[in-house]
């Protein structure tokens, strides 16, 4: 695969598995994502979507191949530096302690502080602003354990916004959201992209993918994933094959929708 000099995130022949005794989960994955685009990683359960996200974060290291961030191997980044480039929005997070949403979002400032530093007024301001951008400024002083699943998801997004990364990794960001919040999240993601942020998300919901993604990585257990622009890769053929279901794309009010039978 030729190297794209404009790629922000690139996987080059990445192979990874959890145990040397078992076949690898991902084999020879190749793609390169340009800055300012939204990539949706789509595929059935167990295809390795979350694994791929963890590799992009640097939390897992490939057996073979390289993960490049802005043309440089991810493993060569220093920790805090990597934290300023990459943010993670996990699917869910548990805390037994009564942090307020603002205190929680403030932790996104950690990679911008000196080692053992303590956030100052400017960091509080950024955290407040991030809560507002996620549409939950009113929850700033609510204890996290009292938030609903959807509110918590938006708070995790706010923490990633406060981290001011160039690339945001989102693991099933719409999993806990109702329709209203889902629409809101899509709006926020478009907004972030408009400001030059690059986003990578795993997603099960074709309507979310169709609404916000520019590129798609279709994953299938045991086969090399298909990478391409949304209109090239997210087709009736590829979807039907990946999900083993006859799938049709129909247009309703000018928007594409996925229909299966």
């Amino acid at each position: 695969m030729t190297r794209d000099p404009q790629a922000l995130l690139a996987f080059q022949d990445v192979t990874f598995g959890y145990s040397p005794n078992r076949p690898p989960v991902l084999e020879r994955v190749n793609f390169s994502l340009r800055a300012g685009r939204v990539l949706a990683i789509v595929g059935p359960n167990g295809a390795g979507k979350t694994t791929l996200l963890a590799l992009a974060l640097g939390w897992l290291r490939p057996w073979q191949g390289d993960v490049l961030l802005a043309g440089r191997a991810l493993r060569d980044y220093r920790r805090a530096e990597r934290g300023r480039w990459l943010a993670l929005v996990p699917q869910s997070e548990h805390t037994p302690f009564d942090y307020t949403a603002l205190e929680y979002v403030l932790m996104g400032r950690a990679p911008h502080l000196p080692p053992l530093g303590i956030p100052g007024p400017a960091d509080y301001e950024i955290a407040m602003d991030a809560l507002a951008r996620a549409g939950i400024a009113a929850l700033a002083h609510r204890p996290v354990p009292q938030l609903s699943g959807g509110e918590r998801q938006l708070m995790l997004l706010a923490r990633a916004i406060a981290q001011q990364p160039r690339l945001m990794l989102l693991d099933e960001p719409t999993a806990h959201l109702d329709l209203h919040n889902k629409a809101r999240l899509i709006q926020i993601m478009r907004h972030l992209r408009a400001q030059g942020m690059t986003l990578v998300m795993t997603n099960h919901e074709p309507d979310v993918v169709l609404a916000v993604a520019d590129d798609v990585l279709l994953m299938e257990a045991g086969r090399p994933p298909v990478f391409g622009r949304l209109d090239e890769a997210f087709t009736e053929d590829t979807l039907s094959r990946v999900y083993h279901l006859p799938i049709r794309l129909v247009e309703v009010n000018g928007r594409k929708q996925v229909v299966w039978t």
């Binding site: 640097g58 009564d98 990679p111």
Partner: protein, 341 residues
């Protein structure tokens, strides 16, 4: 809206800082009073002038009361801070500093020295400290070898198993101990007391305590980040495993050092962080300094009661357990309340 909230946050942080200042002032006043409190010449406070007139009183205060007070202060600060660190790192509000086999290790070390090594004070202290650290080290090594669950779960499991080994060892040593001389000594050690603190004993643990508490205080905000799950902490630029290990060692070494001179003093490390969180919420930036001060106050009060209430000494561990458990029950059953911003 956002402007307003920000100002509210700044005001709340200032209020927390003032409360910490107030606690510190209260602690200093308590220490000053405690120097004069005792059963000499009569139960109660001795007048300040007596210190100048009565040489025995002056020597008593200087050689017995002051080192003992300082030991109580450091013990309370350390156990509370270590308790808070452990509760955050293990995302579990019910762990206490001894649970990684530190307390059972110390108990085994003390019993071992009493039964098999002659039971000298210095030997008992050294053995207790050594086995407390051995307990931590053994738990850590076992946790690394376990092939099961995440890092936190592995440490907890290893800690429980190693604790049980040491407890079995203590049982065995009690069984073979001389019931007239050695057994009472083990029992008293397990009840915990600061009655025999001297300057040399206090000074022998001081460097470890100051260093450990200093490192823990430096991590006071960082601890929030390290309490998140590993992958998230990593995404925020932390090295979760390495930094957690540094913090655990920084919290356990002073704990082991102090337990080695005080014996088992339980419940402080469990209850004081809970009280602190009620007053200061979860953020450890203020919570850690505050819990040290509250722990110091709580332990000095308990130790004052231990040495003054009865003509004979009441073991400190009994008082901290009694009061700690009562407060714990009170907190658990009381109406949930939170300080509003």
């Amino acid at each position: 809206m956002s402007e307003l909230t920000l100002r509210a946050v700044i005001a709340r942080n200032a209020r927390r800082q003032r409360l910490i200042g107030l606690l510190a002032a209260g602690l200093v006043a308590l220490l000053a009073l405690s120097i004069l409190l005792g059963r000499y010449p009569a139960p109660g406070l001795m007048p300040w002038s007596r210190l100048q007139e009565d040489e025995l009183a002056a020597r008593l205060v200087l050689n017995l009361r002051i080192p003992r007070l300082l030991a109580a202060l450091l013990l309370g600060m350390t156990l509370s801070a270590a308790g808070m660190v452990f509760q955050l790192l293990f995302s579990n509000p019910l762990v206490e500093p001894g649970f990684l086999a530190v307390s059972p290790g110390a108990a085994f070390g003390a019993a071992f020295a009493i039964v098999l090594l002659g039971g000298g004070a210095l030997m008992t202290q050294a053995s207790a400290a050594a086995f407390a650290l051995a307990g931590l080290g053994f738990s850590y090594l076992m946790a690394r070898r376990l092939r099961f669950g995440g890092w936190v779960l592995r440490l907890v499991l290893a800690g429980i198993a190693v604790s049980a080994l040491f407890s079995a060892g203590v049982g065995l040593l009690k069984y073979i101990a001389d019931p007239l001389t050695q057994l009472p000594e083990i029992t008293f050690w397990l009840l915990g007391s600061l009655a025999s603190i001297t300057w040399p004993k206090l000074l022998s643990v001081l460097p470890a305590v100051v260093l450990g508490l200093g490192i823990v205080l430096l991590f006071r905000w960082r601890l929030n980040v390290l309490s998140l799950n590993e992958e998230t902490a990593f995404s925020l630029g932390a090295a979760p495993n390495r930094e957690r290990l540094v913090l655990i060692v920084a919290a356990v070494v002073p704990t082991a050092a102090l337990i080695s001179i005080s014996g088992m003093v339980s419940w402080i490390g469990l209850i004081v962080p809970h009280i602190t969180r009620r007053l200061f919420d979860a953020d450890t930036r203020f919570g850690l300094p505050a819990t040290m001060l509250i722990g110091g106050i709580f332990t000095v009060l308990c130790d004052n009661a231990a040495r003054v209430l009865l003509a004979g000494e009441i073991p400190l561990g009994i008082l901290t357990s009694l009061l700690g458990a009562l407060i714990f029950l009170g907190l658990m059953t009381a109406q949930q309340f939170r300080s509003q911003p």
